[in-house]
Symmetry: D2
Subunit: 319 residues, 4 copies
């Protein structure tokens, strides 16, 4: 199945639990500069300045930390039903989410695969920015962030970890039509990292492999910034707030993008700001790029040419 035949259009949003919703709102809205589109029934809904959908991050006040679900938007309404059917045929346990159960969203399904809680939906509201915050550029949503906040533009990708990554990767390619753009191999030629996409982004979704027996985890959710200047300014905003990021700005060799990582203390959710040119992959006949441990270092973090931050993921909550 090619990525054009994939039922999935894009990464839609991530929902996380939090131990303190007010503190998470301070972090995501007042420091990170996400827009709070709605707060209802103990859930806060956020989006970036150029996200069209109702939310690309939901934060649930539950006294726990951990990711509740990772949601993909399908290309058609029918694709949601088709996926449900094929999951059930496969023996997976599918949960049906009513329209409106998640604010701003239509009917959806949820399923756990390889230890990760996925959601698939098509119908979603696209509220305009409030009067006064709306951009005169109609191809943007909000005009600008307020002062002294980072201004995330749009959701970019999610990254998870598990010990069953090879099977997980096969499922993404064979069943869901994701294209494998890049992979990371140890010096004994075992694959430990996969960067997948259904869009021309370098990745919409990535998996990092854990040792056998380790619990599946959520690594980070990424938002895109326009430029290196924005990324650097993000560092300055954190410094002005007295917040130490997980990693100051650096450059990944894999995906060729510039990064900064910072974690919300209340929810434990790690956000990667992702900027710089990266690359867009329009090729229909792509051979996955292979990076070897010896070329870019192992788990070493924060390198300019390197693999990225150490892999301390966020456990999914028990429910």
């Amino acid at each position: 199945m090619s990525r054009w035949e994939s039922p999935i259009a894009k990464l839609g949003h991530v929902a996380t639990h939090t131990t303190d919703l007010d503190e998470s709102i301070w972090f995501f809205r007042d420091v990170l500069g996400l827009k709070l589109t709605e707060r209802e029934d103990g859930v806060a809904y956020f989006r970036g300045l150029r996200d069209w959908e109702h939310h690309t991050l939901a934060v649930i006040d539950s006294g726990q930390t951990g990711v509740d679900h990772i949601a993909f938007r399908t290309k058609t309404p029918e694709a949601v039903d088709d996926l449900a059917e094929s999951f059930e045929a496969n023996g997976d346990d599918v949960t049906y989410v009513e329209a409106g159960e998640e604010t701003g969203q239509g009917e959806a399904i949820r399923v756990e695969k390889f230890g990760h809680p996925f959601e698939f939906y098509y119908d979603v509201e696209k509220p305009p920015a409030p009067e006064g915050e709306r951009s005169r550029l109609k191809n943007r949503v909000y005009s600008e962030a307020s002062g002294n906040r980072i201004a995330p533009r749009r959701i970019d990708h999610a990254h998870v970890q598990d010990s069953v990554s090879p099977a997980h990767a096969d499922w993404l390619q064979d069943d869901l039509g994701f294209q494998l753009n890049e992979k990371y191999l140890t010096d004994d030629d075992e694959t430990w990292g996969w960067w997948f996409s259904v869009t021309p982004l370098p990745h919409d979704f990535a998996i990092h492999r854990l040792e056998a027996g380790a619990e599946p985890m959520f690594d980070h959710l990424s938002y895109h910034l326009d430029s290196l200047n924005d990324l650097w300014e993000a560092g300055k905003v954190l410094a002005e707030h007295g917040i130490e990021p997980d990693a100051w700005p650096g450059k990944h060799a894999i995906t060729s993008a510039d990064y900064l990582y910072v974690t919300d203390p209340a929810s434990g959710l790690c956000i990667e700001f992702f900027a710089g040119p990266g690359y867009l992959n329009f090729e229909p006949d792509w051979d996955p790029i292979e990076w070897h441990e010896s070329e870019i270092g192992g788990e070493t973090s924060h390198q300019f040419i390197g693999e990225g931050p150490g892999w301390d993921g966020l456990a999914y909550p028990d429910e």
Copy 2:
């Protein structure tokens, strides 16, 4: 037909005629910084620093100016045959191009639609950059441009003009699966501009309408630059070479991108450098944005919030 069902993967290249190949090579390689991948039988083949394919611009030494063909790459080899079949069923005159007839390219077909010379192909070589110019970032092709040259990263879009644009636009949407992202309407509500895409780019291909009876023309081919700094530096490079661009850097409201336009004197081909954030459109349920003449001015050029340069296109050569 949705853009995912489109047979087309991307804009592949444009081929132009030139009155002086050496002068065109000076312009495209030594000033604009495109990489010359091959020069054979009176044709020079160029690509940007991150273009994977053999060429994204071909320049044909024929003593004429004007665009020879606009080539789209299909998603599959079969799609080329299917398109040929459907064109012939429609009564269109299809030309078959042998593998290798265009250097680096496999079998292709050509057809004239609405006065524009289109090509469709799938098979193409992807030569690595020569030793010494190759990037250690494997997701890039060339490491860098040489000094005092602009460094176009990748082909972005093509823009044409004709008097039969509404029918042309319908064909692109209905037969080829292009998604209409934005359009421009005069104050009496007639559409005079269409911005189409099969990818998440704001446009892969656009049409500007001409008065009834006017000849179809080619407007410009666009290459992407990473950042505003690159665009500004492009202006400085032209200034150092004593070349006056068609338009110094400015910002388009439509597509939300930053531009600079400059024309090769020998071929008459206008190149737009396209930078800045623009936007990526991943939405499966997009309502085309409508811009009205009164909002952003008419044919006025070079405006920050405006429609762009005046529309002096390049006639296709008589053959």
Copy 3:
């Protein structure tokens, strides 16, 4: 006299009249993003985000437009008295300004030279930014501008026009120790532009020549921005506010800096935002650079390599 022997340390501020103080406050604070340090007795005092002094712009509610005075700060308190003495010895009419008469400022003197109203002062308050707006970087004053506003960093230079420029230029060099960095000559070799500095900036003060008999005028006051991104963003901020600048971003050959010009409707004061590398001139043995009309065009405006905007100055008010 070398610039190190000059009595002048820097351009301090400009004071302008306005026909509508509230509208000017909207323009300078809410759009241009200057900080309002004080509003008292019908005068509003502004400064940039990294200006240490109490104000670098004063706006006087007087029902008139036009610049009230152009103020230079001296290197020592004594230099103010020495200047007063030498002006009086020369027969100039010196006005003595009491400490506090201009809020935040100590004793000063005013004198009209070549039709321009100059002020010289040394003592001035340097109020910290209010709590909550103060930068944790102690070498900055304010942390950041609020959203959707330009963020001028510091006062840069002032530019005036008169028909007696050659004598005016001699006075600046011989009596005040300004260094001539660049000049502009017409094709018949007459100098029509002078760019002067007592600091390493490309200019602190410039003169444009007018035809004989023309009234002396004030051209513009300039604030510095950090980067090209800031300048471009400034254009976007104006566009979001629906304000048309006098000149969209472009590049000056003279001073090698990037610009954007915009005028406050209520006071008529034109502000130039000045960004980009420009150059710093530390040379003790500088030969002024000469630019000829034929090299960079005449009065043509908005050119990338060009002289800058047309010269429509602001008349000084009759008092």
Copy 4:
């Protein structure tokens, strides 16, 4: 003595020894992108793209590593003689350098102070860039760097270390008229860092204190880059060459500037690339900024808000 009364105009150049001149030329010219203005008698002379003087770095083929001298340019020719006189009156051993002994330079004097080898000169050649490399912007020297090289614009500052810093600092202030802009204090309130300037730059010269008895050392020579994009690109250039810098891009709190540090293996000379807004200090009544260990960490390196790289200096050679 104020900085305007200082005999010194600017930092002029640094001369270093090298164990391998060819390798140093490869490093400084082919990687770092400095321009080689001359190679004569076993000395290579370099400058940045906008340095007017004959050289801002000299590299001496002597089989040793270590800095030979740190040269300041005076404001007048007489100042060189006056300094010589006052050094000798003080009992210092002054060496007289003949015109031409250092290529491109007139008469100069050398003196060792606090263990550091200083030179003072006024006369120096200012060769234009060779035809073909000259910028059409007359206020620049070279048009651009060649490809895949960093493009240092101009010399910025030098940084040294010694155990007698307090006396060294007094000499710079009292005898040479340097202004103290910022200082760094340990938690027990001892000053361990001084940032001095005779120009409005945040520093032309800085001292870091060493434990009593430690040998005086040279820390680094700094070149200025225009923008954050240039700094990031510098990182990419090093990565493409397979060179690991001493510190990837980060931000200093002190001086408010962005940095990258890299060392020439053959000479041991550490170069800091210095970019970003920093700040310009035009104030005649400046109170030095005090940074405390508890505010920005101690010797911790590479922090965004931090003090900078660890202090591994370069010993001066025995001669």
